[in-house]
Symmetry: C2
Subunit: 480 residues, 2 copies
């Protein structure tokens, strides 16, 4: 992809979406009219309006950047989405498929036949085909492989072999290489002969025979140094590089810390195999933040806003099942104290306060710990300091809020002992929440699992069950 | 900042942090030994070890990139953080202060006197000073302003006037401008005379008199076109630009969609005033994702992992107070049914299941809606389709899970009517959760408030109170 993306006018995306939606609404109106006239006769005027409308929509789509068309497709319900997709020129199908989210891509690909898919994939670079591949039918991929030349086929096959969160899955192959023994003058002439350079290119890669990467030549050095100098004299030999099986998350952090625009990807023998660019990193950062947020809320995978009811429901079931199981266990804790509750129904009214506040304070701790783990700021050496700090906060909060809640219960039920039990249970559940808020994400991390997923449900389970147990247990011991 | 950041070795950050922590632990050990020897006599050997240790630490720090030193400072408890901060060379203070998070920056600045702060700020560019300014004492800023030349002072003052989430607050002033009537040859010679180019520079800005921006000249065009051509003939006239009061969130989306590396910032008369670069955008994306996550969990502001107990506690109080208030209201809903609970204590054990699952399913809907709103995919035109879809899912889930839960309650308490009440209450609360999950974030958005903040607490309040009310109300009507 070496198009001049920068040449686009920056217009409000909202405006584009609004225009398309208005055209679609008009379209629906016309169709309704046509359908209402039962029988085969169609009014000529209406057919014309219909066609003119679609032509206007098509023109609008043709003017838009592929990323903007992708955005509009994401925002449309399935029927309108497929109508718009049909209007998109076939030669743009590929670049738009690359831009849409996985779930929307699936819905678009499902509407295309194999020859359309092959044609769309044919307009793409190897790394882009690799992005699409998981959603393409197996026979389309097989046929694609036969149409590629040896180098591209090898690249596609290797790109397909890297796991989703690795540098290999994000890299592309649009790099420009040069030899160390030539002068900058020669390098400049070489670039001019190339005629066109890839996007996001801010350095040339200096390679020896066998693609051994020995340095990088930043374009800004190339532009500011005397052209008589050799590449070897000007190149930078101490540069950030990645290997294809490096963790994408860590690579993204390196891009962020060192303000990189692009970096070479090399194999264990330092042979150049690709490059990682900041636009791929930005997409990755955004997508992981989105995925984290959705998975924290208990959605199994990215969900298309307008996917079918059945698919959406299934996407949410696993989490609901887990929550139901934990809720049942908490419910059995309460069940064990039904005798106490029959004697003093106030316990039933007060117990959700203890459990709820415990869950809230624990989730605050979890958020801090997950962020600290993601940034690599929590280590063996400082974990005990963190625990001490969170316990101190729990103690302070437990005393302050516990007293307030206890006083409230005392006044409400005119029962000082009930107030005391409430205050003590609150304090203890604050401590449970602090410990659970630290240990649950840290344990998941140590088990090499993503602490963002599941921490919150485990915590709520702990604070609910323990909250009910502590409060009802204390009440049974002291009050009854 | 035109340093060669790319020249850094990409080493494991974990390794750096580990080495510093090991040196600090050794240091503590030595100090403990020294302290244990009561009286004034200090063992010469130990003093030497002590000094040697600090020298080793200092050497390690000197080798690190400022962003890596910042990272290490973030991960250290306050006492060790200040020890390390003292070892950092004074001339590096400025660039490191720019890299650390707001809360850690405060702790570092609190340990510096005005002359140290002035010296540190003196090493920075105007846009970087603007980043630090909110944390600097007022008199330091005043004195800084007097040391700057007219242009820089004007820039600093205007940068300080932009709100936090605007393009103006993210932009810098490191741009290279050129006239349209010169040839590329002249442009190349001009760059060579400059000797050094800013980081992240992928295009020159073509300006007329009065800094009127009329085009951009991508470096890749400069490098691949015949040097005899004029800038006017080669420049791109249709480019993405921003204004300083544009929303940073929308600018970040434009960078993401159009794969930009940098873009000009112009005023309403199209006069060039600065540039926005992808590294500032990446930092912004990461920081907003972090802030969203923390505020969703109920932390008022970014919290330093090792801030004092008192500060941390206060940071969490507002949210706890809000939750406590809503928990009390939910508790009063239960209180209204205490008579029913005394007669049938099973209600107390079962009611948290209804409320809890309602909260979980509602939060799934909220996560989807917040993401859709952030991406601009939810509009007036498609909102009713979304509502219909979420209601259908709620109905489906309510029937499936409601039946399962009802059957469980029936078996457990051998009471078919109780099972029926449970199933019906579950179904109804699923519908409440779906509606609340859509309307709460959309209402906050329409009120120009961040839907990520507060949506979840309002939802949980709704599903708790309504869940208790529906279940206990139905039980009272049907069972008692």
């Amino acid at each position: 992809m070496t198009e001049e993306y920068d040449t686009l006018q920056h217009e409000s995306l909202e405006e584009h979406l609004h225009q398309v939606q208005a055209l679609l609404a008009k379209q629906r109106l016309v169709e309704d009219l046509v359908h209402r006239q039962e029988g085969p006769r169609q009014d000529l005027v209406e057919t014309l309006v219909h066609k003119q409308n679609l032509a206007e929509l098509q023109k609008k789509l043709d003017e838009l950047h592929p990323a903007d068309v992708a955005h509009i497709l994401e925002a449309l319900p399935l029927d309108e989405r497929l109508l718009v997709w049909d209007l998109v020129k076939a030669e743009r199908d590929g670049e738009i498929l690359v831009e849409v989210s996985d779930s929307v891509r699936e819905s678009l690909i499902a509407s295309m036949d194999n020859s359309e898919l092959l044609a769309a994939a044919g307009t793409l670079d190897t790394d882009e085909i690799a992005d699409l591949a998981p959603d393409l039918p197996h026979d389309v991929i097989q046929e694609l492989l036969t149409t590629l030349d040896t180098q591209k086929r090898a690249r596609l096959q290797s790109a397909l072999s890297f796991p989703e969160d690795s540098v290999g899955a994000l890299m592309d192959f649009d790099m420009v290489t040069i030899r160390a023994d030539v002068t900058l003058e020669v390098a400049l002439r070489y670039l001019r002969r190339l005629g066109e350079l890839p996007d996001q290119l801010d350095k040339l890669f200096v390679v020896e025979r066998n693609d051994q990467l020995i340095g990088v030549l930043p374009l800004k050095r190339l532009l500011t140094t005397d052209p008589e100098a050799t590449v070897a004299a000007v190149m930078v030999e101490d540069f950030v590089s990645f290997q294809p099986d490096d963790d994408a998350h860590e690579a993204a952090q390196a891009f962020e810390r060192y303000d990189l625009v692009m970096a070479p990807v090399v194999d264990t023998q330092k042979r150049l195999i690709g490059r990682l660019t900041v636009d791929a990193v930005v997409d990755y950062i955004r997508e992981s933040a989105d995925a984290d947020m959705l998975s924290m809320a208990g959605l199994k995978e990215e969900e298309d806003l307008f996917s079918t009811v059945w698919r959406s429901a299934k996407n949410r079931w696993m989490w609901l099942a887990v929550n139901l199981a934990t809720a049942f266990i908490a419910s059995r804790v309460i069940g064990a104290f039904e005798g106490s509750i029959e004697k003093l129904a106030a316990l039933a009214a007060l117990m959700p306060i203890i459990a709820g506040i415990g869950g809230n304070t624990g989730n605050q701790t979890i958020a801090l710990i997950i962020r600290g783990l993601a940034l690599g700021q929590i280590t063996q050496a400082n974990a005990h300091r963190l625990i001490a700090k969170e316990l101190a906060i729990a103690l302070l909060n437990g005393l302050v809020w516990g007293s307030a809640v206890g006083a409230f219960a005392w006044l409400l039920y005119d029962n000082p002992a009930l107030g005391g039990v409430m205050a003590l249970a609150m304090l203890l559940n604050f401590i449970v929440a602090a410990l659970a808020g630290i240990f649950i994400p840290m344990t998941l991390e140590r088990l090499k699992r993503d602490p963002a997923i599941g921490s919150s449900v485990l915590l709520t389970f702990t604070t609910d069950s323990m909250g009910f147990f502590i409060f009802l247990g204390l009440a049974t011991l002291i009050l009854l």
